[in-house]
Symmetry: C2
Subunit: 462 residues, 2 copies
């Protein structure tokens, strides 16, 4: 790329020059290392696909002395700002809000295109980045920010641009999927499964962003915004993590033909759009139930296309780098041949509804007195609140009387200790609002015959 550093937006797109495209990499952790490796090892292939060589002009890090396999130490620099000023294309894989945001804005202002994997930043402040890129006439690509290696952003933004997306539903956080999968297949409790995920590198030392659903919520906000051509701010994404999911929940899910999954859901109805992240019971026969380990899978339902599914590795250095490099090729081709990728599309500007407006089915588990008339009482409360029952199941022998014991030992161990006077009631409702369900459950908890509301979980994908 022969354009000078100070070139305004137009200059890079004339397409006349075929000099190298100068690439700066910001961050050299798990993803950055793989990005540099692929840029180096596949240099010739990338040059052929772009139409010009990609030249790494530097890799910005905090500490140049830390060892990084396969990365030329001469490329390392701690001066990210100076590096950005020398690049035509900036790859941001630092993560987090700052300094990522400032560096991206600086790169855009200097006329560079940007490829980022930063879901947190996009969800928190995407419109600022989009607006800056559009004003500067440069590309802003972010395939790697959602579902790692899985092509999802491009299909949603481009392949389905002629269709009307109705619903996006998927597993977009590999860490929690690994944890829930281990709970289901190995019978672990949450904390043990999280500790195991940390040992294997699937979870951070501080697992909050994953376990509490922050990571998935950021991705849900991004996907909902793209799918519905509407800005869906992160604050309006309903978020529940998996911290409250017990071994008991997972065991009962299996017993009722379900699997517990943390889902990100974006929906469009006649009233508007909504996005939410929460654990849910998924029928064992549903394809999402078969997504194991740290894999991701996303269903997209569109009016004309029908149901589509995308499956693959949602995290990890090499898979994420694959998504980054795909974007790099697109952005670099535009530098060389002209053109510009998709810009922010918010024309639809649909109302963003609170998740409480969403209709979902629920499974409610109760410990109740094992005597005639209890089901009639409970059913009456549901009816009063307009919540209709799909199925009820009673399981007297599988219940622990002591909630704490239940939580720790799971239902299997509880069989011997359960007093004969208690029964376990599993109620599956038809679709109801969160508000109706909450009011119903509160009223049920007040009943004399109800000892305890053990759990309330949504049912999705039926």
């Amino acid at each position: 790329m022969a354009a000078p550093d100070s070139a305004p937006h137009g200059a890079a797109h004339d397409g006349a020059t075929r000099g190298p495209v100068r690439v700066a990499v910001l961050g050299c952790g798990v993803v950055g290392t793989q990005v540099v490796r692929l840029l180096t090892q596949q240099r010739d292939d990338l040059a052929a696909r772009v139409g010009a060589p990609l030249e790494i002009v530097g890799v910005a890090v905090r500490d140049v002395t830390a060892p990084r396999a396969g990365v030329d130490p001469a490329l390392l620099t701690t001066d990210a700002e100076a590096l950005v000023a020398r690049a035509d294309l900036v790859i941001e894989v630092i993560g987090g809000l700052e300094p990522a945001r400032s560096l991206i804005l600086r790169a855009i202002a200097a006329g560079a295109s940007v490829v980022t994997a930063n879901k947190a930043l996009l969800a928190a402040d995407g419109p600022t980045l989009y607006a800056a890129a559009e004003a500067a006439g440069v590309d802003l690509y972010f395939e790697a920010a959602v579902a790692g290696a899985i092509p999802l952003v491009r299909p949603v933004r481009e392949s389905l641009a002629g269709d009307r997306i109705l619903r996006v539903l998927g597993i977009v956080n590999g860490t929690t999927n690994y944890v829930l999968d281990q709970m289901a297949t190995e019978g672990l409790d949450l904390s043990t499964a999280v500790a195991q995920a940390q040992q294997l590198g699937f979870a951070e030392a501080d697992p909050t962003a994953d376990v509490e659903g922050f990571d998935a919520a950021a991705k849900a906000a991004i996907l909902a915004s793209l799918a519905f051509h509407t800005r869906v701010p992160l604050e309006l994404v309903h978020r529940e993590g998996i911290a409250a999911i017990t071994a008991d929940d997972v065991a009962w899910a299996a017993r009722t033909g379900h699997v517990v999954k943390l889902l990100a859901i974006a929906e469009r109805t006649d009233e508007g759009v909504s996005a939410r992240v929460h654990p849910a019971l998924v029928p064992a026969s549903h394809p999402l139930a078969g997504v194991h380990g740290a894999f991701n899978a996303v269903f997209v339902e569109a009016e004309a296309a029908g149901e589509l599914m995308f499956y693959g590795r949602g995290a990890g250095g090499a898979p994420t780098a694959s998504a980054v490099l795909g974007d790099v090729v697109s952005a670099a081709r535009h530098r060389v041949h002209g053109g510009l990728g998709p810009v922010e599309s918010t024309y639809a500007d649909l109302p963003v509804l609170p998740a409480s407006a969403a209709l979902t089915r629920y499974q409610v588990r109760l410990d109740v007195a094992d005597r005639p008339g209890v089901l009639a009482q409970v059913s009456a409360v549901l009816a009063e609140h307009g919540v209709s029952i799909e199925a009820v199941r009673q399981a007297p022998q599988l219940v622990a009387a002591d909630p704490a014991a239940d939580r720790e030992a799971g239902p299997g161990a509880a069989a011997s200790g359960a007093p004969a006077s208690l029964a376990h009631l599993i109620i599956t409702t038809h679709a109801a609002t969160d508000a109706a369900l909450s009011a119903t459950v509160a009223a049920i908890a007040e009943l004399d015959s109800v000892t305890r509301v053990v759990s309330v979980l949504r049912v999705e994908g039926a």
Copy 2:
């Protein structure tokens, strides 16, 4: 689009004009009708996404008097050539080689961008179309040509452009998948299942293109060419259809933990690339085994991304129209804002190997004399030919002596009629070449103790 009909390639891409993009639709069958419907019903959305209205200037048909639901009769014309000359963007959904090819070339020569769903034409003469489009500086998009609504062409060409694709393996023909699925789930024989597919509109009156694998082979050629940046001509795609698959094959597949699927496979090895279409036994636990009815699913394995899967509707009017419209938005955006989609990429120019070089596992079923020493004889022949055995299973009671009876009645019905002196031998080999396996099977057939080679099927996806 205000550019005159005779505008050379550059003119359409200056991006200054925001007049309507004039769209011509060639063909108004199942897909064309849905394309026109979506262009009409989603007019406002499409205009917002493109940045300019899409104006249908005409729909070319053979017979303007045939009724077409939802299509304004005033748009219909039999003069496709004149229509093409009035368009900025031509959607070709006629199918077949002519007049589709001539009309597309005429459109390109007149400076129009082209979106086509025509797999047969692309596989047979893609390079001519690509070259014409590149010379004219217009777009040639064809997402709908492979796997219907499933975004696959764009992910392979763009999202994975920074990665190295090693293998593509999938179900890309919905008709044969429906037929095989019905054989497996309902126990139908092939001709009955095909007749049923015809009644339901899943198969053409002449089902040859689907049943004999021509349709899948065209898609395999297209996918292999895109995945490996190498022209893979249709003639070099090994093609076997499902015509020889019997109810017995399907029943034995189930008995050995498999499902029969028609697969399209494109592979890259150190020696080169290859593409093939054939029925294969897929383990029941493999995700492709769970692809039912007329659905399609494609696995893509790339060096950095790992394994990805794409799933959805591979055919049908609305799903195919969704893919067409996605391409239309991309091409129209380029007309309005400048830029150009990906062009043919053949720089890798890898050797295209015959499918006989591919290594696959096989399952060979034999009727043999039920006496000691037969397995030793058969094993010796395999060893002589360097084909290694993974597993052998013997099933004396499930075999029909009469091949014709076997073929018609299936193994279940054969139990009572089988002479006690016959046994059924099911041999699964380790990976072997087609040539080695063919020579082995020929030699086995010569053995006195072998009554009949019942079937030879590849095993994939293990």
